[in-house]
């Protein structure tokens, strides 16, 4: 499968991700999921291609943001499908990558 679409979080969403819900404040995981991640992911599944997500140039990825976006997506669509159609890029910090992939694989707390 080839990469046909990209989300650069710092540019397309915000360099300062927030918390879990919209009611918590700006740039929440819920907002990211509903406005960007889910629509682009569904298109990627429909078109059978990979959506690349660039994680760089961002101040951080709070666990509530990651869980409220990637965790929720994984819970709704299944981790295998999510990881089949999404690839991540993080040149600055590979730990971010691990953190998000771990969340997708384990959205439910242990």
């Amino acid at each position: 499968m080839e990469i046909k679409d990209t989300i650069i979080i710092a540019k397309d969403f915000a360099p300062t991700p927030g918390a879990r819900y919209r009611r918590d404040g700006e740039f929440s995981g819920e907002q990211f999921l509903e406005e960007l991640l889910l629509p682009k992911f569904e298109k990627a599944v429909e078109g059978n291609y990979i959506l690349k997500i660039d994680l760089d140039k961002v101040w951080g990825y709070p666990s509530s943001f990651v869980s409220g976006s990637f965790g929720k997506l994984s819970l709704a669509k299944g981790s295998d499908l999510v990881l089949k159609h999404i690839s991540f890029k993080s040149d600055e910090n590979p730990i971010r990558l691990e953190k998000i992939i771990y969340e997708i694989k384990n959205p439910i707390k242990k």
Binding site: A14, P15, T16, P17, G18, A19, R20, D24, G25, E26, F27, S28, V58, W59, G60, Y61, P62, S63, S64, F65, S67, G68, G71, K72, L75, N93, R96, P107, I108, K109
Partner: protein
Amino acid sequence: MRRKKPNSDLKMYFSIRARYQAKRRTIKWKTRKKNKKKHLHDRYVKQQIQQSKPLTDHQAPKEFSFVHNTNLVLKYFTEAEELFKAKHRLNLNIDDIETLTPDAISLLVASVNDKNFHHNSGYVGDAPKKPELKKLFKESGFYNFVNNRGFKRTANGNLLHREMHTKVMPVLAMNAALTGIRHTFGNEEPYEPLYDILIECMSNTNNHASLKSSEKCNWWLYVYNDPITKNSSYSFLDLGVGIFDSVVVQGYFKTLLKGTIVYKNIKIVDDLLAGKIQSRIDEDNEIRGKGIPQIVEYSKRRTFKEFYIITNDVKINLKTAEKEQLDYNFKGTFLYWEIQDTKNLE
């Protein structure tokens, strides 16, 4: 000459006005207005009586540090609140303190701005006498948040922020992180753990500080850049209900015994830090509860020189995993950490 017929708008205007005038002539209306006037007058008289009361001097402990002298500082605030409740006017006397730390300043400013603490009883106060402590106190920006007679406003020094709407504010978190990063590391590179911790603190207050969803609790953030050690300290607090009073302990008997001698809060610290304790919020419970474990994980890094959580009757040192049972209850949640440049340690 015949009078001009009023148009429909005017008719409407006069009919509404007539109805209003008739309403104003009713006994119910007049009684309500009279009662309101009386209530305002009574309140004014009460205020005058309260303000004319002599001041009760309330001396702060010599070591005025919430993190290092937790029990005595808590005792000071608990006693102050009791005196306020009994309608005493207080002189919150910190004149003769010998040690002052930024965390205590943040607790003091949050308390004097909290109605549940001062009960509108009136207070005065002054900066410490010791010159270096006076400087620290004045530069904290404390005076920007009090307009009481005793404390006078001065220019803001370090970053002291009060958030009224209990929202998570990512841009503020970034600025707060930058304030410390510039000072400690001498650059402007993002330090992810610091930013993530700030967001989790704000989120925690927004979701757990109050037991009722309609009641929202303010949070305070104070970033202090120490010119001598070159470290930056962060004090984050809310005067809500505290973590232990906001969590649900699983099981009927455990719930009944929670907070008693049999089932003390200190016994559930490990579960809390591991994210095993459920919050009162029903939504998404299966995926929530990762914020505190993330803070715990980050706190182990060498960059964090100190890391404490004080909530209800428990103090937790995240660096050493030590837990301390406190003699007094702190109604709220307080997080304190200090960042250092690890390059300087080698």
